[in-house]
Symmetry: none
Subunit: 420 residues, 2 copies
C-alpha cells in the first residue's frame, strides 16, 4: 500500500509558508502502516496539478491532496481532482447549511464562491470541516488511485485528519496485524558513530526496522516492529533493543519522542527533590534557561549566577583572584571554585559551573576548551574537561548538554563518559 | 528559467522532521527571479531518487537537492546525482583537511565513511560547509539540467546557501543587468499586520519585488530590484524603502540578513561603551545567554543573576520581602527593585529585569503577563508591562526580544512601542 501526498499552494512554492501539514499527515500514514515514497508540492495551477496527479497515480494507490478547497479563484483542487478521476462534484447539504447559517448570523453578504466550499466528490464521502467551511472528500476509485482531499489551513486539516480521515483510512485499508514503534534516545555519541557501531544490525534489519535520526546534540533510534498482535510486536522490539543496548547502552538515556535530555534531568531532580543552582561563564545563562523549560522545576531550582567577567566570578560566587591568577579563568580550579561558591551561596544540594573558550583563544587555550564543575553537599568538588569545536554558539549548546548529562549521571551514580 | 527542489530524507517522508530548508531555498530562488513549479520529497533510496531526478529533468533547468551528503550509509545524494549526470566524484582537499584536523584535535577515531563528506562533483564546483564537513556541489550540465547539491542540516544549509550558492547562481544565470536585494528588519509588528499595512505597495509590486518573511519574533522584508546597473537598482531600492518606512518606520530597526535584534543591541552597547547586567526570573538566563551570542560583548557585560525563586530575588539582588508581599512577584515594583538592585550590585550603566507568568497562573495573573524593569544610573527605574500568550517557551522568548528592544530604544532615545 503506497500513498503520495500532494501539497497544493503557490505560497509553499514561494517559501512564504512552511508546510507543516505534510509531516502531520505523514506521521498518521506511518501509524496506519501505509508507505509513502514521495511527496510533491505544486502551485495553484490546474495544468500542473493534473500533471502531479498523473505522476502520483503511476506510483501510489492513494493520493492525498492538501489545500485548495477554499472559496477563492486560486482554490482549484476539488475541481481538478474531480476532472482527474472523472467524477462529478455535488453539494454537501450539511456544509451548505453551515455556510448559509454563518452568513445569516453575522449579517455578511454571501459571495457565490462561498458555496463552492460545500462541494465534494459526489460518488465519494464528504468529510466535515468543524472549525471551517470547506468539506473534504474521499473517493474509492475503481479505475485508479483512491483520492483524499484535505483542507490547507492547519487548524482545519488537523481535526479533519484525526477525527474523520484516519478512521476512514483505517476502515478502508484495514490491515492485518499490529505495527508498533519504540524510540530510543542517546546522548554523547554522534549519528555517524552510532550508525557505524550498529552497522551490522542496521544492515540485517527487516523486522523491526531501525531508523537513526540526529536531533540537536542528541540521536534517536526508532525501532518499528510488525507482528500479528501487540504482544508479539513488543517481543520483537524488546529483543532488538537488547541487541542495540549491548553495543551502545552507555549512551542511552531515555525512551520516547518527547523525553529530551533536559526533560529527563529535570524529572530526576524534581522526583528526587534534589535542589540545583548554577554559575555560568561560557554559557551565560543558557544552562539555567534550558533547565527552566521543564515544567515544575521551580520546586528545586532557586536560581544562580551569570559570571561572565572574572570580576563577577570573584564578586558573585567568591572565586579568589589568586585562583584565577594562578590557574586561569578556564581551569579545573576555577570551575570547582565557581560550583562550590554557588552551592554555598544558594544552599542547594548540587551546583554546576561552566567556564570555557567559546570562540577565538583565551589564556592560550583554543576555542572549544570547556571545564564543567560540579559541587555536592559534603563532598569534594569535581570538574570535567571537554574539547568541542570552533563554533561559538554550538560550543555553548554542547556545554549545556554535557552539563545536563553530568547531572544525570551523578544522580543515577553512573560513570561519566569521555569524548562527548 | 525553472528550478526544482528535491528534498532527500526518509525522516521527512515519515514526518519525523518538518522540512524548513525548501522554503528557505525557495525564497532565495524568488529573489533570484528563478521560477519553481514543483518541489519533491524523496526518501534515502537510490532508485527513487533517480526517478525523482528523471522527472525533475523533464520540467526544470536547475535541480537543487537538499540532504543526503553526510557520512552514513543512508546518505546517497552525491553518488546518485553523480550517476544521474554521469560525472565522477573527487575529493575536495580543503574539506578533507578539515575533517582530518578535527578528528586529530578532538582525539576521536575517524571512521572511513567520514571521508565521503569531502567528495564533490569533480567537473563542477565544491561549496564550502563552514559549520560542518559535507561539501556542496554545483555542476553546469551541458547535457541536461544543472545540479546544485546542498546539505540537510539547516545550520549547514543556510550559510552554504547564502554565502556560496546564491552568489554562484546569480553569476551563472544573471548575465544581463544587476539584481540587487536589500533586507529591512522589523520588530514589534507581526507578519500579517505588516502585510496588511503594506497591502497597496505589495499589490502594486513589480520592480522592486517585496517578500515579507516571519522569523522568530521578527519580520524581514526583502526588496529585490532588477536594473541595468547597480546605481539604478540602488535608486529603485531607495525609493521603495522610503515608501515602506513612511508606513511602518517605527518598527524598523536594521538592514541585512545577519543584523538580528540582539546583534543590533550588542553593537550599540559595545560601540557606546555602555555596561549592562540583568536579573532574570521568568526568562531564567535566556536574556543574558542571548546577549552573550554577540562577539565582544564581554567588554560591557560582566554578568548577572537568575532569580527564579522569590528567596533568590531577596538574597541575590536585594528585593525586599515587603515589596514582594505587598505587590507580588509579578509586579511593576518587583521588576523595578530587581533591576535597581542588580545595577547597584554590579555597578553597570544599565540593568534589566524580567518577571512574569510563563504558563498557568500566578498571583491571579494569567500566563503571558510580563513586567520588564530597567534601571539606569542617576535616574528612577522604569518598568514595562506586556501581555503575551499562553505558550511557556514562546512567552520567555518574546520577553527576551521585548527586553532587547527596550534597551535599544533607551540607548537611541526612541519612544517605546506598545502592543508588541
Amino acid at each position: 500500500m503506497q500513498a503520495e501526498i500532494i501539497a497544493v499552494g503557490t505560497e509553499i512554492l514561494l517559501g512564504q509558508i512552511t508546510d507543516t501539514n505534510s509531516p502531520l499527515v505523514a506521521r498518521e500514514l506511518v501509524a496506519l502502516d501505509i508507505d509513502t515514497h514521495f511527496q510533491t508540492v505544486v502551485g495553484d495551477n490546474e495544468e500542473r496539478l493534473l500533471s502531479a496527479l498523473e505522476i502520483a497515480s503511476q506510483r501510489a494507490d492513494l493520493i492525498i491532496t492538501i489545500g485548495g478547497l477554499g472559496p477563492t479563484p486560486d482554490d482549484l483542487s476539488k475541481q481538478t481532482v474531480a476532472k482527474f478521476v472523472d467524477q462529478n462534484l455535488a453539494v454537501n447539504q450539511a456544509a451548505m447549511d453551515k455556510i448559509e447559517a454563518w452568513h445569516a448570523e453575522t449579517g455578511r453578504p454571501m459571495a457565490e464562491n462561498n458555496r463552492l466550499q460545500a462541494l465534494y466528490l459526489a460518488a465519494g464521502i464528504a468529510l466535515p470541516n468543524e472549525p471551517g467551511f470547506a468539506v473534504g472528500s474521499f473517493y474509492k476509485n475503481p479505475n485508479g488511485p483512491d483520492v483524499l482531499l484535505l483542507p490547507g489551513p492547519p487548524w482545519e486539516l488537523e481535526p479533519m485528519l484525526l477525527k474523520y480521515a484516519v478512521p476512514l483510512l483505517q476502515q478502508q485499508y484495514h490491515h492485518e496485524g499490529t505495527l508498533l514503534s519504540r524510540v530510543l534516545r542517546f546522548y554523547g555519541i554522534g549519528e555517524s558513530r552510532l550508525v557505524t557501531k550498529l552497522a551490522t544490525l542496521i544492515d540485517q534489519q527487516t523486522n523491526p526496522t531501525m531508523a537513526p535520526y540526529a536531533k540537536a546534540h542528541e540521536v534517536t533510534l526508532r525501532l518499528t516492529a510488525h507482528a500479528v498482535d501487540e504482544a508479539n510486536a513488543t517481543k520483537l522490539l524488546d529483543e532488538m533493543e537488547a541487541q542495540v543496548l549491548a553495543i551502545v547502552g552507555e549512551y542511552f538515556y531515555a525512551y520516547g519522542d518527547d523525553s529530551s535530555l533536559v526533560e529527563t534531568v529535570g524529572k530526576l531532580l524534581i522526583d528526587g527533590g534534589v535542589t540545583i543552582s548554577a554559575a555560568e561563564s561560557l554559557t551565560a545563562g543558557m544552562f539555567q534557561s534550558t533547565l527552566a523549560d521543564v515544567m515544575g522545576i521551580s520546586a528545586v531550582f532557586p536560581g544562580g549566577f551569570v559570571t561572565y567577567a572574572p570580576t563577577a566570578k570573584e564578586q558573585l560566587v567568591g572565586v579568589s583572584p589568586a585562583t584565577v591568577d594562578q590557574y586561569g579563568v578556564v581551569s579545573e580550579q576555577t570551575a570547582k571554585a565557581m560550583a562550590a561558591g554557588t552551592r554555598e551561596k544558594l544552599d542547594t544540594d548540587i551546583a554546576i559551573s561552566f567556564t570555557g573558550v567559546a570562540s577565538g583563544e583565551l589564556e592560550g587555550q583554543p576555542a572549544g576548551t570547556v571545564w564543567i564543575g560540579l559541587a555536592t553537599r559534603n563532598r569534594a568538588s569535581e570538574a570535567y574537561l571537554y574539547h568541542f569545536g570552533s563554533d561559538r554558539q554550538r560550543n555553548r549548546e554542547r556545554a549545556v548538554m554535557a552539563g545536563l548529562d553530568i547531572v544525570r549521571r551523578k544522580l543515577l551514580q553512573l560513570p561519566m563518559v569521555k569524548n562527548i
